[in-house]
């Protein structure tokens, strides 16, 4: 058992066994035929990643800066997982 995602990706590619991975990390490998989605009819959805912080009257300045930064980051790219290059649609 491994709990590091990149290690799992490379172990799967090396043919060690079955990995359970977020779709954005494996789309390029599936498209290239290196990996197979074993259970295409059984997708499981994760609700996404959230940042949570105590609601305070005054948010500390560094956290306020970070919240703004994350909002700007998110609006510039839809999913912040390191995305492999997408296959072009014909």
């Amino acid at each position: 058992m491994v709990n590091d995602l990149e290690l799992v990706v490379s172990a799967v590619l090396d043919g060690v066994g079955v990995g359970y991975l977020p779709e954005p990390l494996v789309t390029s490998h599936i498209a290239a035929g290196r990996m197979v989605n074993l259970l295409p009819d059984w997708p499981r959805f994760y609700s996404g990643i959230f940042l949570y912080h105590p609601s305070r009257r005054q948010t500390p300045a560094p956290l306020r800066a970070f919240l703004g930064f994350v909002e700007r980051w998110r609006s510039s790219r839809p999913l912040a997982f390191p995305q492999p290059p997408r296959r072009r649609q014909a």
């Binding site: 359970y20 990996m35 989605n37 259970l39 959805f45 959230f50 949570y52 300045a61 970070f66």
Partner: protein, 222 residues
Amino acid sequence: MPRIQLAELTAFAAVAEHRSFTRAAQGVGVATPTISQTIRSLEERLGVRLFNRTTRSVALTEAGERLLVEVQPILIGVERALESVNAFRDTPAGALRLAVTRPFATMLIAPLVQPFLAEYPAIRLEIAAMDAYRDIVRERFDAGIGVGERVERDMTALRITDEFKMLAVAASTYLEGRCPPETPKDLHAPTACGCGGTGPSSPGPLRRAISRPRSRWRAIWW
């Protein structure tokens, strides 16, 4: 009353939190002998022992526990007071402590660190990667980042990514000698040969499975 400095109480709270002089010293940013000396001198002036020290561990005495309960809210109050001044500064400065759960959230946050610090050089970013959800308020983190929305009271949640699918995948070469599973349960089955029938209609996969004894699915998961 003996004159006690705020720095000494900060050192005391750090040792209490880390249960270690070495780690507390790192946290406060001083040398280990300095922090031991600070605590010893504090104990001498108060006339009580605050910690029981053995070669392996550091634990609060009853007096130490009592002092911690009284002093911690004051230290937090002082920190907040200093933070409130921060708002008047042009560039945000100070520590930002994030509790980030493994493995998704850490992976997601990693690419943000460099650009964030480039934009806010005066912010000191402390990221604690953790394996399970922790009480961020009690452990004095500014924010937590993890999978799923925390709907606890007095918490604000901000979505960072869309929802995402999790897929069970294997290398295409790994499938040789194994039949594609139909349900998640099939992955736990001891063998994957047969392909819905071991009769003469499917001799190929069966023969391959026999020639390759390692036909059990091995789960790597994450």
